[in-house]
Symmetry: C2
Subunit: 191 residues, 2 copies
DNA sequence: GTCTATAGCCCGATAGAC
DNA sequence: GTCTATCGGGCTATAGAC
């Protein structure tokens, strides 16, 4: 009874790796087939068409990312530490597994994506903006963060800087580039 | 004698629009053929293979962007105005022509790009980082910008934030989103 | 320089046996 | 659930006439 669930889950995880590396348009059912013991046609049993698979992969990624945020919230209540943990979490994954934020990468090719995939990406952006807005507001209240203007707009610019740093790290093929920029952004909001 | 040059140039400009919309992997010779009066095979006369075309398009974009920077440098010497002009230039193009920074978008799919295209993209990142570093250092010297740390690192984080804002605007399909975030970044460095 | 025609490949997706 | 076989179509690229 869990055979199907495990296979579907394994397909999603392989596809996630491929999408992070190549984006949505440049990975194929054949690529998945090569990386696990399954034929192309069998993948269609679990995900009838590519947009189903794409949506499932992004939804899975969103859930994982949400768990990452929850984990940070449980580890510490210090806004500065939370900010640093967010950065270090990405940095570690980039070094260890050439991991990048899937939704940042997919947003770049958004006009070519099926609508159901686009919706998942927008959801990710909203969730992470909201998390940073809460983080920044609480840091401001505690007096450890200083910044002008609305915390929500500031949250958008912080998220943008982090995601832009990830793009730059990909351009230079150097995770250190991400870490340097992101930590600069983190120190910029501190008193 | 200028027939070939004009055709090649026209192909580059059509391809630029397509690459901004869809990225490198999701546009084709057939797409170009549909948008101008030329057959697929004839495009190969001007650009023997797709990586030649891709490299030429990004090189053309780099030149255009460099001219944009020169133009800003001629209009004003006030660092704050320069920063604002940089943002407004992108914003206007995004509104009028659904324009995005080609190199930001292509950096996201970098691992799938031919090496000659990658090199052009890295060149763009270096040029714009250098321009911002000069801008920030001069603003700091004039006392109109305040920020901690090295101007080059700060330049990287500013560029990252602007590029990240562009990605977010694409995710939300809303140019205003870009403008709001980018102007926040601009005001953050001011005294 | 541009064309028609086509080679050769990969893609997503389906049919039907097991 | 997984397989083999295959369809129909899009892709980059080439050959060769004009």
């Amino acid at each position: 009874m869990n055979t199907q669930a495990n296979t579907a889950q394994q397909i999603i995880e392989i596809a996630l790796g491929l999408m992070i590396e190549r984006g949505y348009n440049a990975f194929s059912y054949a690529d998945i087939s090569e990386r696990m013991e399954i034929r192309k046609a069998s993948i269609h049993y679990h995900f009838p068409n590519k947009s189903d698979l794409g949506r499932s992969v992004v939804a899975h990624y969103r859930t994982m990312a949400q768990q990452g945020l929850n984990q940070i919230d449980q580890i510490t209540s210090d806004p500065r530490e939370k900010f640093t943990l967010y950065i270090e979490q990405f940095y570690r994954q980039m070094r260890e597994a050439k991991f990048f934020c899937l939704c940042t990468l997919l947003a770049a090719e958004l006009p070519t994506l099926p609508e159901c995939v686009r919706d998942e990406i927008q959801g990710y952006f909203r969730e992470h903006t909201a998390w940073f807005a809460t983080l920044l507001a609480s840091g401001q209240a505690q007096g450890v963060f200083t910044f002008g203007g609305d915390p929500t707009i500031k949250a958008q610019s912080v998220l943008a800087a982090i995601q832009g740093a990830m793009i730059a790290a990909r351009a230079y093929q150097d995770p250190e580039h991400f870490r340097t920029i992101a930590l600069q952004v983190c120190s910029d909001v501190q008193t």
